[in-house]
C-alpha cells in the first residue's frame, strides 16, 4: 500500500510485519522514532506476541537481545552513534555467538565534539565486529532491507545492521510502498534457531574457547559473510518476486556502461550524486555511479567488475579513517588492486555537513581531470583549521579546539550553506 510517511515510521511498520518477538528500546537520536512507534504498537496490542523492553542503556539493549535470541526469539533493536559504541562489547559478542539479531543503525557522527547529525562513522567503527551491514539509499529501501535482513540473518545465524542515514532518511517524509502482512509472511518464515536455550535439550552457549579452536570459530564468521555474498543477491531476487520491486543486493550501478569516471558512495547521498551525474551527462560527461549496498560483506568481485571498464573512480564517503584517509576507499582500492585504475577519495558530510550539488559538480569535474589529491576533504574550511593550528603553535594553553573554531566562525546556532 502506498503511503506518505516518516522514514522511521515506515521502518517501524516493516519491523512489525516481520513479527519480532523481543524489542529492546533505548532512546538515542536519530533512531528514537522507530522504537517509539514499535512501543506504541506493542502497548496497543497491535503487535503481538511481542515483548517491548525499555532498557537502561544500549549495552543492555544488545544484551537483552542476545538473551532473547539465544532463547529462540526473533530479537530487534535500534541505535546510533554513541549508543552503538556503548554497546560495542555486546555487538561483537552477538556475532561471536552467532545470534541473528537485526538492528537498525540510524547513522550519526561520533563525538567529541558531540554532534547528532548524519555521517557513517558509527557503523563503520564496527566494521570488523562480524555483523553484516546493509546501507539503504531511500526510505523504501530501508523498509525493504529490514525484511530481507531478518531472512538473511536467520538463514546464516549471524546478526545484521541495517544502516540508514540519520535525519536525512529517518526523519524524511516520503512515499513508500508498505507491503502486506501476507507478503511478508510468504517471504519470511518463522525463526528456526540453530542453537537454543531449552531445558528439554540443555546446551552450553558461550563457553571458554582456547587457542585450539578460536581461529576456527572466528573463521566461521568470515565464512558466513562469504556465504552472504551469494545469498544477498538471491534474497533480493526473491524479494522482487514477492514484492515486485528491486531492493537490496550487493551493489547498484547507474550509468556506468560507458563511464570513464565512476563515483562510489553508500546511503542517501547517492540520490544527490545521481542528480549531478544526470546534469553532467546532459553536458556530455562520461560519468557514472556505483552504490554499495552491502558494506559487510564487502562485494570485492562486484565492485571490481563494475569498475574495470572505467578510467578512474572517486569514492565519496561520509567517514574518515583518522591518520589514513578513507575507510570505504580502502576497500574499493583492494577490489581493483592490480588494475592500474586511478582512484581518489573524498571525505564529505562529516557531522551532517551538507553536500550540495554545486560542490559535487566541482569535485567530479576535478576527478575527471585527475586533478585531485589522494584525499580531498570536501568543503573543509581551511581558514578555520589553519587559524586553530596557528593558535596551537603560538600559544601553549590554546584552549578547547571545537570551542575556538566555533568562536572564530561566529556561529552560535547551527547554520548551514
Amino acid at each position: 500500500m502506498l503511503k506518505q510517511t516518516e522514514g522511521s515510521k515506515a521502518v517501524a511498520e516493516a519491523i512489525a510485519l516481520c513479527r519480532p518477538e523481543v524489542i529492546c528500546a533505548y532512546p538515542i537520536s536519530p533512531q528514537t522514532h522507530i522504537v517509539e512507534a514499535l512501543g506504541e504498537m506493542v502497548k496497543s496490542g497491535n503487535l503481538t506476541p511481542c515483548e517491548f523492553i525499555n532498557v537502561e542503556s544500549e549495552f543492555a539493549a544488545m544484551s537483552v537481545a542476545i538473551g532473547a535470541s539465544a532463547a529462540g526469539a526473533r530479537a530487534y533493536t535500534a541505535t546510533a552513534s554513541q549508543g552503538l559504541l556503548f554497546m560495542a562489547e555486546a555487538v561483537y559478542n552477538a556475532s561471536g555467538l552467532g545470534l541473528p539479531i537485526v538492528m537498525t543503525v540510524a547513522n550519526r557522527a561520533i563525538g567529541a565534539p558531540i554532534n547528532i547529525w548524519n555521517d557513517h562513522s558509527d557503523s563503520l567503527s564496527q566494521r570488523d565486529s562480524g555483523w553484516m551491514q546493509l546501507f539503504a539509499e531511500t526510505n523504501q529501501e530501508a523498509l525493504d532491507l529490514h525484511i530481507q535482513a531478518f531472512r538473511l540473518a536467520e538463514e546464516l545465524s549471524m546478526p545484521i545492521m541495517v544502516c540508514m542515514d540519520g535525519f536525512i532518511l529517518t526523519h524524511a517524509f516520503e512515499r513508500v510502498d508498505m507491503p502486506t502482512q501476507q507478503q511478508v509472511d510468504d517471504y519470511l518464515p518463522p525463526f528456526e534457531p540453530r542453537q537454543v536455550l531449552d531445558p528439554a535439550e540443555p546446551v552450553s552457549i558461550g563457553a571458554m574457547v582456547g587457542p585450539e579452536a578460536f581461529m576456527e570459530v572466528r573463521y566461521l564468521a568470515h565464512a558466513k559473510q562469504m556465504q552472504a555474498l551469494e545469498l544477498i543477491p538471491q534474497l533480493a531476487a526473491e524479494f522482487k518476486e514477492t514484492f515486485g520491486r528491486d531492493s537490496g543486493g550487493l551493489v547498484r550501478s547507474y550509468c556506468i556502461e560507458d563511464a570513464e569516471t565512476v563515483i562510489i558512495a553508500m546511503g542517501s547521498i547517492l540520490g544527490t550524486i545521481k542528480d549531478v551525474v544526470d546534469e553532467m551527462r546532459e553536458a556530455g560527461h562520461k560519468i557514472g555511479v556505483l552504490g554499495i549496498i552491502s558494506y559487510r560483506p564487502f562485494p570485492l568481485e562486484q565492485v571490481r567488475a563494475a569498475l574495470l571498464g572505467c578510467k578512474r573512480f572517486l569514492v565519496l564517503e561520509k567517514s574518515l579513517a583518522v591518520g589514513m584517509g578513507g575507510i570505504v576507499a580502502t576497500d574499493v582500492r583492494m577490489a581493483v588492486s592490480g588494475s592500474g585504475l586511478k582512484g581518489f577519495t573524498a571525505v564529505a558530510g562529516l557531522g551532517g555537513r551538507p553536500i550540495p550539488k554545486s560542490s559535487l559538480h566541482t569535485l567530479f569535474r576535478q576527478a575527471e581531470k585527475e586533478d585531485l589529491p589522494p584525499v580531498t576533504f570536501l568543503d573543509l574550511d581551511w581558514d578555520a583549521v589553519n587559524k586553530q593550528l596557528e593558535r596551537e603553535k603560538t600559544t601553549r594553553r590554546s584552549g578547547p579546539a571545537a570551542e575556538n573554531i566555533l568562536h572564530d566562525k561566529g556561529i552560535v546556532s547551527a547554520k548551514f550553506g
Partner: protein, 333 residues
C-alpha cells in the same frame, strides 16, 4: 560474657545435626532426584566456596522449577572453571555472554519465554561480586527496577579472584588484594568505600532479597526455593570464601563462612519488598579477630607490626551490623 543457651542439636562445630531434624527438613547431599546441575569434573580450586554455593543454589532452583531452568552467567571464575570447552559441567541450558551483562541477558531469556508462552521455564542469572557489584551493576539495577522475572545470584568472594585477586567494591576494608597492597600507613583496602548490594537491591523494592553463606546450605537452599516460588526480580547474595584469594586453607571454607556470619561481618537476612522479614541469628558470637586471623589477606594487621586500631574499626562495623539487623538472640534484653 553473656549466657548462650546450647541447643540440643548443636554439635561442637555448630553445624546442624542433620539426622536429628525431621526428614522433610533435612538437606541431602546425594539423592537420585538431585539434578547435579554443575557436574563433577570442573576445574575449581580445592575448597572453592563459589563452586559449592552454585551447586546448591542451582540444584535448589532446578528442584523448585521442576528442572525447567535456564541460567545466564557473567564472566568470572564460575564461568571459566565450569566450561573449558568441550568439558562443560552444566547440565542446564546455560549461556555466558559478557562480564557485565548477565542480568540483561537473563531479562532477554525471560522475555523470550514469556512471548513463547512457556511460563514454566524459569531464569537464573549469576555472577561473582565483580560481575555484580561493579561492572554488571547497571544491568542489574535495570533488571531490578523493571521487575523482570529473573533470580539473580551473586557469589561474593570479596574480590576479582579470576584475574588474580584484585579489589572489588565488595572487598572489605584493610584486606590485602593485588591492587590494595599492605603497604603505607593504612595498609590494605581503604575504609569508607564499598557497596552493599543487598541493601541497594532492597531499595529497588523488588519482591525478594536474601543473603546466605555456604556455611548454612540448608538456609541457602530454603532461600533459593523461596525465591523461585516468587515472580519478578529477586536477588540472593551468597557469601563464598575463596581459599586462593583470602589465603585460607582449603578445608576452612565452611569455617570461614560460618565465622563471617557469627562475627557479624556478614549479616544473613531476607527481605521482601524492601523490608527485612527475617535474620539468621548469631549462635555463638565471636570477635572479628577470630575470623580475620586465619586469613592471610589480613595478616598485616596482626603479629609484629599489628594494627589493633584497624581491627577495632572492623569490629565496630560488625557491631553495627549486629545492631542494625538484630543478629543476636538477646539483643535488646
Amino acid at each position: 560474657m553473656g549466657f548462650q543457651a546450647v541447643k540440643f542439636y548443636q554439635t561442637g562445630t555448630f553445624t546442624v545435626g542433620n539426622r536429628l531434624l525431621a526428614p522433610d527438613e533435612r538437606s541431602l547431599q546425594s539423592v537420585e532426584t538431585r539434578s547435579n546441575s554443575i557436574n563433577s569434573g570442573h576445574r575449581a580450586c580445592q575448597g572453592c566456596g563459589e563452586a559449592l554455593g552454585a551447586r546448591y543454589a542451582i540444584d535448589a532452583a532446578m528442584a523448585e522449577s521442576n528442572n525447567q531452568l535456564i541460567a545466564a552467567n557473567a564472566t568470572g571464575c564460575l564461568e571459566v572453571f565450569s566450561t573449558p570447552y568441550p568439558e562443560s559441567s552444566w547440565q542446564v541450558p546455560w549461556i555466558h555472554s559478557l562480564f557485565g551483562n548477565a542480568a540483561a541477558v537473563a531479562t532477554g531469556i525471560a522475555a523470550a519465554m514469556k512471548v513463547k508462552g512457556r511460563p514454566e521455564v524459569r531464569v537464573v542469572a549469576q555472577g561473582g561480586d565483580g560481575g555484580t557489584t561493579d561492572i554488571g551493576f547497571g544491568c542489574l539495577s535495570g533488571m531490578f527496577e523493571r521487575n523482570d522475572d529473573v533470580l539473580y545470584i551473586c557469589y561474593d568472594n570479596e574480590g576479582y579472584m579470576n584475574t588474580g585477586v584484585q579489589r572489588s567494591s565488595a572487598t572489605p576494608p584493610a584486606a590485602r588484594t593485588a591492587t590494595t597492597m599492605p603497604v603505607g600507613p593504612e595498609p590494605g583496602n581503604v575504609f569508607g568505600q564499598g557497596k552493599n548490594v543487598p541493601e541497594i537491591a532492597m531499595a529497588h523494592g523488588i519482591p525478594y532479597v536474601a543473603t546466605a553463606t555456604v556455611a548454612d546450605l540448608r538456609d541457602l537452599e530454603y532461600k533459593v526455593r523461596k525465591a523461585m516460588k516468587m515472580h519478578g526480580a529477586r536477588y540472593i547474595h551468597i557469601f563464598v570464601p575463596c581459599p586462593l584469594g583470602w589465603g585460607t586453607a582449603s578445608h576452612d571454607t565452611i569455617r570461614m563462612a560460618r565465622m563471617a556470619k557469627e562475627s557479624g561481618t556478614f549479616p544473613v537476612f531476607e527481605a521482601e519488598y524492601g523490608e527485612v522479614t527475617g535474620v539468621l541469628k548469631i549462635r555463638h558470637k565471636i570477635p572479628v579477630e577470630e575470623y580475620m586471623k586465619p586469613q592471610r589477606r589480613f595478616a598485616h594487621l596482626f603479629g609484629k607490626n599489628a594494627h589493633p586500631e584497624t581491627v577495632a574499626r572492623i569490629q565496630a562495623i560488625a557491631d553495627r551490623n549486629i545492631r542494625k539487623y538484630g543478629l543476636l538472640e538477646d539483643e535488646g534484653n
